[in-house]
């Protein structure tokens, strides 16, 4: 078990290193290859009104002409120990987790990201709980009542669910429940859980359901297939033969085995969850990280986008690590191997 955890930890660290390189490349190397020069970058920092000399000066001060490896090193160093920025209007200090300095607000990006993190986390965690519970429950019921009206209905809904983008279902839900029936929040508001849990849930319930629907469908299909397979195994018959209650047979013997692949797929889907959260936040105007990122793109504020990308990637790697460890709990063969 210990070696398994250590191996996974090393894997996660390597992945983070790769992700940071890719992120850095997207923002600094790829534009270079496409013919963007160092002064074009400096231009972004000082604003359009600056003279040519100041731009060249700033490009030098920010080290934009240095080799890529040096720039990457400086960027990584900034994340760990902080760094100094000089736009030509005096030196600015950017404290320890320095993910860059906004072009527009001229402030470090990190505090902004921290502010918006709870919104996105609330959305993603709540939605994934709903989608796992609903998906697995529907899948199990479908498998146990195979061929019934419920089974066929659920599978048709599941097939449609995979084909419906969250920014369409979200809009329909808003139009139906918030505008038509007036039973849910109209979107745009977020109350922290610590302030008022009821209001927190009221504002998030529609986004949760929207995001959950995206994947609950796929999980229902998967669980159904897995359950159908395991319930036909010999050990299920043995369990029944020794007189166990049917509910025990289903949950302890059937579901436990059928859940293993679901956990794996969930690990791979954390990226999809985050992508879905970005879309959902934009549908419901929730002030989370996704909304922050799209706002930054509209304002052409590269450091904000970069900070967001890095943070998002970090969470995905961490989530994958947690799922890997969970996997060892669910499936004993993994930790023994």
């Amino acid at each position: 078990m210990v070696t398994y955890i250590i191996r996974r930890l090393i894997g996660a660290l390597l992945m983070l290193a790769v992700v940071s390189m890719v992120t850095f490349s997207i923002f600094f190397v790829v534009p270079r290859l496409a013919g963007v020069t160092a002064t074009d970058f400096a231009n972004r920092y000082v604003g359009r009104a600056a003279t040519q000399e100041t731009v060249v000066e700033v490009a030098k001060k920010l080290g934009l002409n240095d080799p890529v490896v040096v720039q990457y090193g400086r960027w990584v160093k900034g994340i760990f120990v902080g760094s100094e920025f000089d736009y030509g209007s005096g030196v600015e200090h950017c404290p320890a987790p320095c993910f860059g300095y906004s072009f527009v607000t001229k402030k470090p990006v990190w505090p902004d990201l921290l502010d918006r993190l709870p919104v996105t986390l609330s959305l993603a965690v709540g939605a994934s709980i709903i989608w796992l519970l609903a998906g697995v429950a529907v899948g199990v019921l479908s498998a146990l009542k195979r061929g019934s009206l419920f089974d066929r209905g659920a599978m048709i809904v599941a097939l449609s669910g995979v084909s419906l983008p969250p920014f369409f279902t979200g809009l329909i839900a808003l139009s139906l429940f918030s505008y038509g029936l007036r039973i849910t929040a109209p979107g745009g508001a977020y109350t922290p859980f610590s302030e008022n849990p009821a209001e927190w849930a009221y504002n998030l319930i529609l986004p949760w359901l929207t995001l959950a629907f995206l994947n609950a469908a796929a999980y229902a299909r998967l669980t159904r297939a897995g359950m159908l397979e395991t319930m036909g195994e010999d050990y299920i018959r043995t369990a029944r033969a020794k007189g166990l209650k049917e509910s025990t047979v289903i949950t302890k013997h059937g579901l436990r085995a059928a859940l293993t692949p679901i956990v794996t797929i969930f690990g791979l889907d954390v990226g999809i969850l985050l992508g879905g959260a970005i879309l959902t936040e934009n549908v419901f105007s929730l002030p989370g990280l996704g909304k922050y990122a799209t706002g930054a793109i509209a304002a052409q504020d590269l450091p904000k986008i970069m900070g967001f990308t890095m943070l998002a990637a970090f969470f995905i790697v961490m989530a994958n690590l947690i799922v890997d460890l969970l996997y060892a709990v669910v499936d004993p063969r993994v930790r023994l191997a």
């Binding site: 790829v30 139009s175 990308t309």
Partner: protein, 334 residues
């Protein structure tokens, strides 16, 4: 094809389709190619055929968009302010649906929703098809090389696949399009052309992991087959075996996963357009139309038409893809 099919020959002889041909009279049992067998199975699958029909319809709509709009609509970027209630900025009479505006008009500036949905099909399918081709190309080459050569080549490529599969694809695509889209002047191409190329590249580039993994798995089992040994013992070299012996046997999985990748890419393009990094306005895209609809969620027709366009397109491709998989590769159940 001289090489054995993915569907092994003994099995095909046992299936009813192969026997049916003998019913014509004294004719002996004929061998069937993979294509013929697949077509026979596909003909039975009504759902898949319906999906294929819708796909063909959509492609025709996309190709002949100007003609269709010429008959039934107004130019997609033409304002019809006279259709808008100046107080609420909404279409007069709720949606403005009439024989002249089949899907009604947009709030605020009154553009013809029908022609915008029709033109949106062009962007959507164009990007989805070419991005799929790019993914399939990268995925096939990577998968076949990793599977055939094994060893450290396989280790490196497999790691790369894992990384691409675990990546927050939407996040990186968002970042990449956001970054590159800002340097229009330096890139030398501008406007829609730049955006279309960029989207094809980004979507195609981030999506090859899955297809590569499948091709790698298939190649691993194919390279152990006798016909590969035979080719090698006759003196064939790596590239010849890869492209003339193994590749033809991979056509089925490539076709299946390409068909299933198209709807995923349609959704991807719509998502990027929805987030504002796709093709820029005023060019019509389904995602951007839904993005505009977020401000008018009290005007249902504005979201329903582009949304249903996405839904129908994706569903049709998914149904056709599932049918194609059942027809070409009946052993797989996933």
């Amino acid at each position: 094809m001289t090489a054995p099919l993915d569907v092994s020959s003994e099995e095909t002889k046992a299936t009813p389709e192969a026997v049916v041909s003998g019913l014509g009279g004294a004719k002996a049992i004929q061998g069937r190619s993979l294509g013929q067998i697949a077509w026979m199975r596909l003909k039975q699958d009504k759902v898949a055929l319906a999906g294929a029909g819708v796909v063909i319809f959509l492609v025709l709509v996309a190709i002949f968009a100007p003609v269709i709009v010429g008959w039934f609509g107004h130019p997609p970027n033409e304002f019809h302010q006279e259709m808008i209630d100046t107080m609420t900025m909404r279409p007069k009479g709720g949606s403005g649906i009439s024989s002249e505006f089949l899907f009604g008009v947009e709030p605020q500036n009154g553009r013809d929703l029908f022609s915008r949905v029709v033109y949106g099909a062009r962007i959507s399918l164009l990007i989805a098809f070419f991005a799929t081709m790019l993914s399939v190309l990268i995925g096939t080459v990577m998968g076949i090389v990793a599977g055939y050569f094994g060893g450290w080549v396989d280790a490196v490529i497999s790691r790369l696949m894992d990384i691409f599969l675990a990546f927050p694809i939407l996040v990186f695509a968002l970042a990449l399009v956001g970054v590159l889209g800002q340097f229009e002047m330096q890139l030398g191409v501008q406007g829609d052309t730049l955006r279309i190329l960029l989207l094809i590249f980004v979507i195609g580039f981030f999506n090859w992991g899955y297809i590569a993994r499948i091709i790698r798995g298939q190649t691993l089992s194919l390279r152990e087959r006798e016909f590969v040994d035979a080719a090698r013992s006759l003196g064939a070299r790596g590239p010849y075996i890869l492209f003339r012996e193994i590749l033809p046997n991979l056509i089925a999985p490539i076709l299946i996963y390409a068909t299933l990748l198209v709807p995923a890419n349609v959704l991807f393009e719509a998502a990027l357009s929805f987030l504002g990094v796709g093709i820029q306005p005023p060019t019509a895209t389904w995602g951007a139309m839904l993005s505009a609809a977020t401000k008018y969620y009290t005007v249902p027709h504005f979201m329903i038409f582009p949304g249903m366009a996405i839904f129908i397109t994706v569903l049709a491709f998914n149904l056709f893809g599932d049918g194609l998989r059942d027809a070409l590769d009946p052993k797989s159940n996933r």
